[in-house]
Symmetry: C2
Subunit: 350 residues, 2 copies
DNA sequence: CATAGTATCGTAAACGTTTACGGAAGCCAA
DNA sequence: TTGGCTTCCGTAAACGTTTACGATACTATG
């Protein structure tokens, strides 16, 4: 209204108002046309769409978000540095890929919220939430006791977690089926004659350490075998941690003949450490681990548990959408807790 | 004004207006107090801050962004899948870490924009830009001809690229000093008696392939040596690619005695392929590569070029800020083009 | 005392959308 | 003709901030 008609032709598109003036239509109609609302003449809609295209108009998302009370953004929080998660970064990237495809279908934008390994995840999430950034959030690398759950629940932000936790606020979660992996790997090793089997587990604060080691113990018991507590190895879940485990292993007087690795990041370090100690992986020590981009290029090729990370991401996204009221017509509400199965792909290492 | 005084105490905080009513102050003053503006009594400011804290008020970012015309978000675009970039994902994660710390100081939020390997990067960026998502953008995995540059330039969005390109729209960039790496590695190998040296280069569309191979050629020439074109290997920059290179290498009748790897993702595959062909890395074939989290745990330990990814990220962030008018007082304007040096860390593989 | 200056605050207009509501036209049946 | 539908569109009120501007009270200065 200040500089009306100053130069509507060549000026850069400023907003829906200019577009409306150009078309000599009210801005309400323009908005309805762009948003595919029913009560607008199909011919007018075509005019609007064409004008928007040719003038390069794109809706201002701040205005839209302000009015609609939703940002149309979903955040996927991960932590940088495998020292934390025990998964290689490619793990999360692939899951992200799957999540992405689902949200794209609903015109939701997915961004990765990468928490530095130096920052406290709770503080980081607090900042993100305060920003009102996302309509929904995916949490990964969950802890045994995870304060992030309560934070999101209190703010009523829909979320789902990749990973279990003792902290339960009723949100859905997905997790890898570590129980199944424990059972299958122990069964396999025992059937191949191993009686002294070591297992790894990550950080104390991570839940899966317990379920995995416990399930290994139970399965061994089923076979009449015993899990020696000195054969439960804990380390930083990265290459150096694997190397460290190998050194501890080689120092034992009654060394186990097999080991099951719960995460993928330690594998290379473990291989190196064993070789240095004169223990040949696959011959002197059976190894079962988790699949990663390079596990099949190790020598010996790693016998590992694999899964479709992309499909896991898809399931994750759909479960999140199912908790969001705005998508109730697409995904009926449910609060799912699901253990994602893994398949053993035989290699040369066991 | 509709339901004034309905229940200001227990109701959830709705906005700055309710906070103002609670304090019996105008919303203008509340806003100024929260934003640290000078013309507000220090005692009132304290009251406001305390009330905001206790009532859990956080400013709605959509409203703020709408009014200020800036979102306070910076986007770091990466591609998932090392098949594209030739860098492991940890590479970008670490750089991201450095970028993060800089932006956090300026209360800017950094998000990762992960483009699926299946989607066209230009389309992806177009979507992001249309969303008016970010005040600034960092581009990685640049191509030789990169349409993203013009897109951002046209929309006048400040950006910087990690990686060079022939497409130059005047933006600043940072890149690894591949020329320096080529020179140093060739010098080293030649001084150790190698005369037949192979090099790798990534996808045709990637610029660094040319600068690297060309610099290797030039350095070899300086030593009176010749780079056999059949010894310039191109492959998908991942483990499988490295394996493929090893097979091609072993099939050559006059096999080179050394190879320089421009990226890190192919290393494991190359090792495996060589071993399978009966060529022992480090003894039958000298290898110089790029450092990665597991390169020092390979057998033999990889001789590699390393750099501080975090520092690189910091430099990247500061260069971007220097192009943003809003931060002109912190970082004087400049358009920097910088080659980031790498240092050779000796291993056992050459 | 008059005036100027300063410190502090309230008022109201933006920012760019979406959407509830109502109005105008056209059509059809009674 | 009247009344009721349907189809289409314009009007204007939100959404929650920030900030230019002006108003008030107080202090200092002449």
């Amino acid at each position: 209204m200040t500089n009306r008609g100053s130069g509507e032709e060549r000026g850069k598109m400023k907003g829906i108002r200019e577009l409306a003036e150009h078309l000599d239509i009210s801005i309400g109609t323009v908005s309805r046309a762009l948003n595919g609302k029913p009560d607008v003449n199909e011919e007018t809609r075509k005019r609007v769409l064409e004008a928007a295209e040719s003038l390069g108009y794109v809706a201002n998302q701040s205005g839209r978000a302000l009015r609609k009370g939703a940002t149309g953004v979903i955040g996927f929080m991960m932590q940088t540095g495998s020292e934390i998660t025990g998964q290689g970064d490619t793990f999360f990237m692939s899951v992200f890929d799957g999540v992405q495809t689902v949200f794209a279908r609903h015109k939701l934008d997915l961004v990765a919220l990468l928490c530095s390994s130096e920052e406290d995840p709770n503080d980081y999430l607090k900042r993100v939430v305060a920003r009102g950034f996302a309509d929904g959030i995916i949490l990964s690398a969950t802890r045994r006791h995870d304060a992030r759950f309560e934070l999101l629940a209190k703010r009523k932000i829909p979320f789902i977690t990749l990973g279990r936790s003792l902290t339960d606020v009723g949100q859905p979660w997905l997790d890898l089926d570590f129980e199944g992996m424990a059972e299958a790997s122990i069964d396999r090793l025992v059937s191949r004659g191993h009686k002294h089997i070591a297992v790894t587990r990550p950080h104390d604060d991570m839940n899966l350490g317990y379920v995995f080691a416990d399930q290994c113990r139970a399965t061994l018991a089923r076979h009449g075998l015993h899990l020696d507590e000195r054969h439960v190895f804990r380390s930083t879940p990265n290459e150096a941690g694997g190397y460290q485990i190998a050194r501890e292993l080689s120092a034992l007087e009654d060394r186990p003949t097999a080991i099951v690795l719960i995460n993928e990041a330690i594998t290379v370090g473990l291989y190196r450490g064993l070789v240095e100690a004169g223990i040949k992986p696959g011959r002197d020590m059976a190894i079962i681990g988790r699949q990663s981009p390079h596990s099949q290029f190790l020598s010996p090729r790693l016998t590992s548990f694999s899964l479709s990370l992309r499909d896991l991401g898809i399931a994750l996204a759909e479960s999140l959408l199912a908790t969001m009221p705005a998508f109730a017509d697409y995904y009926p509400a449910r609060s799912e807790r699901f253990l994602w199965p893994m398949a053993l792909v035989p290699g040369e290492s066991d």
